[in-house]
Symmetry: C2
Subunit: 295 residues, 2 copies
């Protein structure tokens, strides 16, 4: 199967899993469930869960074993978007071409819907599927997921990002911010695919190298798109990074320098995949897709 | 040991565990860690983790096995206070006798510190202690904790509470709001103590009945204290429930009727403890403490 068709079919798997793992209607207050659904669907590229599924397949695992964790990763990603968009943080009105959660449901409900998605992600990762043989793998997945999403990862990166606004920054700081804010969860997604497939130490290490490189490439391209992307295709306000004087790759390396850095990261990802031979092919195509994307 | 001394020594255990399980200094941004610490210490009564520890002891479990989960429960409780106090929610300036998190660190950092505590709780519950023999128990703990904190529990209750403000409400609605908003996490704490001790189905059921009753008693007394407690001892603004026309027990049953309802709940808790005989003595004293407290 070629990559676009594969991504399309995996996206449907992810969407179906997200629907299946949502809290049951009538068991929870309508409004908060509606706010959760609003931000989850139609959703973006589903890149993180697709990475988890692809890594799981590459290591010969069963897709059904990784789907709960894949859905959990997407819920955590979605919660982070809702909270980042809040007036007290980035104060964004537009996300994926639609009004942001707090614009539609009010600030209180947006805060609670984000909290709910984050919490629900861990419930899913812990309780589906039931096989106790997977308990140790699931435990490792939850630990890695929480670390990638927490102060050592996404939240830490967000804090550094806020604190770096409007100040001079070094290449080291920039790398650290991006690695934590965006890279950690993307890398965790690839590793979790491997963990749920029962991968060995060296395989997981290779997935980590691959994931770190892909996470970096993703963020560099994100920075470039914020500067010269098409707002209609992106579905969000562009040029915000420059206006709020954020620490970005183009601000430090220029657009061309940033592109070269992203290409170098894809090279690292490809080298990490050598261990998997032909089994790593789709992971390689995904890395390529990430730097070539226009939205 | 008498209850006050026992609670005092367990409180020290909990505080030490919270310190031990905090993210390491220098590995995470200073500000967010400082905001986490500010809300965690000196802290309140540590009632939830003490319930978990006491239930674990009652079933013959090792305290060291339950401490990570106990710390996780307190972190989740603390995150919920930070987010509830936010301007978009209850807009409170005072908590435990000090300025609330957003008054000290600003709204953005308070949102992120809350997110960080919630996320870190799951990391702790999944990664400490390492024994793989506990994997199934830890998995069950995480599932229960997430459910109690999520849309089927605390967050769902908070949403219903917000939506009920200023409207007429029935006794059924009131019970449902309180059970979810406060009761679920308190009950989960007691059950988690039992789970980590390796309790059987009937023991866990008894702990659930006990926990549900204690959770209800706790919230009724909280409502009464908001109406006629001493603000200096409580360390928070009182009379807010009445001003924002919240659904409370005294509003529906009067103060005397509410006290009788709380006493009845303690009776239920005591009946649930019969299964444990003498081993349940401290749990019974805790239930008594909860209705007699003045702060």
């Amino acid at each position: 199967m070629r990559l676009p068709a594969r991504m399309h079919s995996d996206r449907r798997l992810v969407d179906a899993a997200l629907r299946r793992f949502l809290p049951r209607r009538l068991e929870v207050p309508l409004t908060v469930r509606r706010a959760m659904v609003y931000s989850l669907f139609p959703g973006g590229k589903r890149l993180r869960p697709i990475l988890a599924i692809t890594a799981c397949r590459a290591l010969g695992g069963r897709v059904s074993d990784v789907l709960p964790a894949a859905a959990a990763i997407e819920m955590i990603h979605t919660y982070s978007l809702i909270h980042d968009d809040l007036p007290a943080l980035d104060n964004d009105d537009l996300r994926r071409g639609r009004a942001t959660s707090h614009r539609v449901f009010g600030e209180a409900m947006a805060i609670l819907a984000g909290d709910a998605l984050l919490t629900h992600a861990f419930e899913i990762a812990a309780t589906h599927p039931g096989g106790s043989g997977l308990a140790a793998r699931k435990m490792r997945t939850i630990g890695l997921l929480a670390r990638a999403a927490g102060v050592n990862g996404m939240i830490g990166g967000q804090v550094m990002d806020l604190e770096a606004e409007g100040r001079p920054f070094s290449y080291g700081t920039l790398l650290k911010i991006h690695r934590d804010k965006t890279g950690a969860l993307i890398s965790a997604a690839a590793q979790i695919g491997g963990i749920m497939a029962g991968g060995g130490r060296r395989e997981l290490l290779a997935l980590r190298e691959y994931g770190d490189a892909v996470g970096l490439a993703f963020q560099i391209v994100d920075d470039i798109l914020d500067r010269e992307g098409d707002p209609d295709r992106l579905g969000k306000t562009i040029g915000k990074d420059a206006r709020s004087r954020k620490a970005t790759f183009p601000a430090l390396l220029g657009v061309e320098g940033s592109r070269r850095r992203a290409e170098a990261a894809v090279g690292c990802a490809d080298r990490a995949l050598r261990r998997f031979g032909r089994r790593g092919r789709v992971l390689g195509l995904l890395a390529r897709f990430i730097v070539d994307r226009v939205s």
